[in-house]
Structure formats: structure tokens, C-alpha cells
């Protein structure tokens, strides 16, 4: 009996999380990168919180975007290299859902830690406490978008040797709207204004990416595997 959609995605998710827990060192890399990059700015610009406060939303968001990009390289490559992905495309099961489950695991490991760490980083950059909920909310939605969008790029470039630079060139321009709305939401919240508009837009983008992204990922992955 074939497993249902839920148990199929559960299996993929459980497998990826179990694999990740056996490689803690790799899992925490994006988080450490995020923290280090955001600490560089006070050192380079000025430790004065008044100056940092103005650019804090931008710093946090650009750092989150780059950290998420850093983790993308290892999203599909190990599975493609050892032949697992080939077995998945030959399983007769919907590849799009399996890749969506993989992307979800990737977000839990590379995106969620950034979201949790963000208030601390914001605090270090002089962000007022009142902006934290919007910071966390915008990053939660935004890193989700980045994971799915990045997943499409990763599936396309996975068969290219040393494809990480190509991946960055491909994905970063497409991620700009997410950065713009995400940073804008935090900026509005810091000035005590309502951030509902950009947050709604981010949520709409996330829904769009989750509904259409897996189809694109599966199509790209089939091209990469069938070569």
C-alpha cells in the first residue's frame, strides 16, 4: 500500500531532521553567519545606537537573506550526489510534495533559528522592543519565501558543478521584493506606524510560493536528474 500524502511528507521531514541532528556543525552555520555579519556593522560603522537604529532593519534583513542563501547549497546536493533523488523521481510518488517537505525541513533548520535569534540581534542594534513582534513576524514569513524561492534555484543549479555562485546570481534578484517589504515592515514598526500592509504582502507571497513553488521545484529537479 502506498503511503498517503501526509505520511509521505512526514517521512521526508523526519528523515531530513534526523540527518540534520547527526550533523549539528553544519546546521548551525547559517545562524552563526547571521550573528557574526550583524555584529560586523557596529564595528565598521559606529557603536552609537542612534546611528545603528536607522539601518538596523536593513542589516538584519540583508544578513538573514545571505544566511538563507548560504544554507541553500546543501538543500538538495547531498541527495542528488548519492542517488537518493534519483530514487525519489522513480518512486511513483509526487516529487513536488517530497521537495516541499524537504524545503520545510530546511526552513525549520536554517530559517526558524534566525527568526528566534532576531530580537536579540535587533536589541544589539538598538531596535526598540515595540518593533520586535513585527521583526519576528516579517522574518518568519520572509525566510519562508526565501526557502521556497531558493529551493527552485537550488533544484535548477544542482547538476551544475560549483553552482553556488550561479545560484546566488539567479536567486538574489528574485528575492529583492521580499527584502524590500520585509525591511519596510520593520522600519514602519520602529516608527510606531502600522506594518500591516507589507506583512500582508509577505504573507500573500508566501502563500503564492508554497502553492506554485513545489511544482517548479519538481520540474527543475527532473531536468537536473534526467541528464
Amino acid at each position: 500500500m502506498q503511503p498517503g500524502v501526509g505520511s509521505l511528507m512526514g517521512l521526508v521531514l523526519a528523515r531530513d531532521l534526523r540527518l540534520a541532528f547527526r550533523h549539528w556543525d553544519q546546521v548551525i552555520q547559517p545562524l552563526v553567519f547571521f550573528v557574526i555579519v550583524t555584529t560586523l556593522f557596529p564595528l565598521a560603522i559606529s557603536p552609537s545606537l542612534d546611528e545603528l537604529r536607522g539601518i538596523a532593519p536593513g542589516i538584519v534583513w540583508v544578513a538573514a537573506m545571505l544566511a538563507s542563501l548560504l544554507a541553500l547549497e546543501s538543500l538538495f546536493r547531498p541527495d542528488v550526489d548519492d542517488g537518493t533523488m534519483e530514487q525519489w523521481t522513480l518512486s511513483g510518488q509526487p516529487l513536488s510534495l517530497m521537495l516541499l517537505a524537504k524545503t520545510l525541513a530546511h526552513w525549520l533548520l536554517a530559517g526558524l533559528p534566525l527568526v528566534i535569534m532576531a530580537p536579540l540581534v535587533g536589541y544589539a542594534l538598538g531596535m526598540p522592543e515595540s518593533a520586535w513582534p513585527v521583526l519576528v513576524g516579517s522574518l518568519a514569513l520572509g525566510t519562508g519565501c526565501l526557502s521556497v524561492l531558493g529551493g527552485i534555484g537550488a533544484a535548477l543549479t544542482v547538476s551544475v558543478r560549483r553552482g553556488s555562485v550561479l545560484l546566488a546570481l539567479l536567486v538574489l534578484p528574485l528575492e529583492m521584493p521580499i527584502l524590500i517589504f520585509g525591511a519596510r515592515a520593520v522600519d514602519l514598526a520602529m516608527h510606531g506606524e502600522s506594518a500591516t500592509g507589507p506583512l500582508n504582502l509577505l504573507a500573500a507571497m508566501l502563500l503564492l510560493f508554497i502553492s506554485l513553488g513545489p511544482v517548479a521545484m519538481a520540474a527543475a529537479m527532473r531536468i537536473s536528474v534526467e541528464s
Binding site: 500500500m1 502506498q2 503511503p3 505520511s7 509521505l8 517521512l11 521526508v12 523526519a14 528523515r15 534526523r18 540527518l19 547527526r22 550533523h23 548519492d82 542517488g83 537518493t84 534519483e86 530514487q87 525519489w88 523521481t89 522513480l90 518512486s91 511513483g92 510518488q93 517530497m98 536528474v225 534526467e226 541528464s227
Partner: protein
């Protein structure tokens, strides 16, 4: 058990051509595999055995020619075809950080529900029950191959497509695998394989396709 004995279960390839870059690799290859038959693809290195197997599995798009499964083109029924097929490549598709048991649990689990007892039985059948809870990283190349074979046994598909299945297997392993293949053929299964040594030589229903 394989439901290959169902009527019309057969793999048929007609007039297959394949180019790799400028090279005309496969020239008008045609064959059919009926239930209970093993077709061994033979030929020197680089002649296109792996490409042929990948085409037959639907992993490589064919440029000209047709591939039928149960008299239907495979392109029109990809998921059905794939659910009745197991493909063993050069690589074992095992996660080295997971144990043999976990690898089978996830590798087979995405295709059908599998219990721990079934996994234990399959590992016993490939004669490595003691490797159950060892990470695959610590297994020898031959033991890894046996885990990959256990995955096929557990998946229980009608058609096996095997690329150099006995690589790294010792004498006992080859004999064991030939027994598994014989059982599969007796149950009405089909096997398409590329191997340098002839497998199940002399058995009825075993044919060789020479590529030039």
C-alpha cells in the same frame, strides 16, 4: 508479491536511438522483456549500457523510439510505471549517516508502508542482520550493496532494472543475489540488467542483448 503475472505485464523498447553530444550512442535498439525473463545487456565500457537502462527507467528522455509498459507508452503513465519498477544504479542511494534499518525505513517507506519485522527479514535474507543498527558509513562496499538489494526486495516491484548489480559483492553475495533474482523470475517478475559477468547463465528465460 510482485503482481507481474497480471496480463500484459511486459516491457518493450522499439527503435531506440540516443545521442550523447555528437556521439550516436544507441542505434535502433529494440527488445522486449516478458514476465519471468531476464535480459542482460552486454558490451564494452562506454557502449551505452547505463544510458539504455536509464532510458528504460524513464530517467533519460529518449530522442527517438518508444518504450512501452503493459502496452502503454511509459511517458503517458509515468507514476504507475515507476511504482512497479525498482532501479539500482552504480550508486547505492544510501544515506551514510543513517543506519541500515533507517535507510530501509525511509527508502522503502516512501513507496509503501513497511514494518520493522519486514526490514529485519530482508536484512536476514541478504545475510547482514548484524548490520541493522550500524551507520551505513561503517559498512563495507559489499555490505552497502546488500542493503541496496534489500531495498529492492522490500519494495517488491514487478520490474527490476539493475546497473552492475554485483559490483563489490563477494562470491557468497553473488550467489545470494542470483538466488534472489531466480525467486523473482519464478514469481513472474522481470529483470533488465547490465553486468560484465553473466548472471543466472543457462537458466531458461535468460537472454543477452549485445550492444556494439
Amino acid at each position: 508479491m510482485p503482481n507481474a503475472s497480471a496480463s500484459g505485464a511486459k516491457l518493450e523498447v522499439r527503435g531506440l536511438h540516443l545521442w550523447r553530444g555528437e556521439r550516436h550512442l544507441l542505434r535502433n535498439v529494440s527488445f522486449a522483456v516478458e514476465p519471468g525473463e531476464l535480459l542482460q545487456v552486454a558490451g564494452p565500457n562506454g557502449v551505452g549500457k547505463t544510458s539504455l537502462l536509464r532510458c528504460a527507467a524513464g530517467l533519460l528522455p529518449v530522442e527517438s523510439g518508444e518504450i512501452f509498459w503493459r502496452h502503454q507508452p511509459i511517458a503517458a503513465q509515468r507514476d504507475t510505471y515507476h511504482s512497479e519498477l525498482a532501479y539500482l544504479a552504480h550508486v547505492n542511494a544510501l544515506k551514510v549517516d543513517l543506519t541500515a534499518r533507517e535507510n530501509l525505513l525511509f527508502g522503502v517507506g516512501i513507496r509503501r508502508s513497511v514494518t520493522s519485522e519486514e526490514i529485519d527479514q530482508a536484512l536476514a535474507r541478504v545475510e547482514i542482520p548484524h548490520c541493522r543498527d550500524l551507520p551505513v558509513r561503517s559498512l563495507s562496499a559489499g555490505q552497502k550493496r546488500r542493503v541496496a538489494i534489500a531495498r529492492i526486495l522490500l519494495t517488491r516491484p514487478a520490474l527490476w532494472i539493475l546497473d552492475e548489480p554485483i559490483t563489490n559483492l563477494d562470491v557468497g553475495g553473488i550467489a545470494l543475489f542470483e538466488r534472489c533474482m531466480a525467486t523473482h523470475l519464478e514469481e513472474g517478475g522481470m529483470i533488465l540488467t547490465a553486468a560484465h559477468q553473466s548472471l543466472l547463465a543457462g537458466r531458461s528465460g535468460v537472454r543477452t542483448l549485445e550492444l556494439h
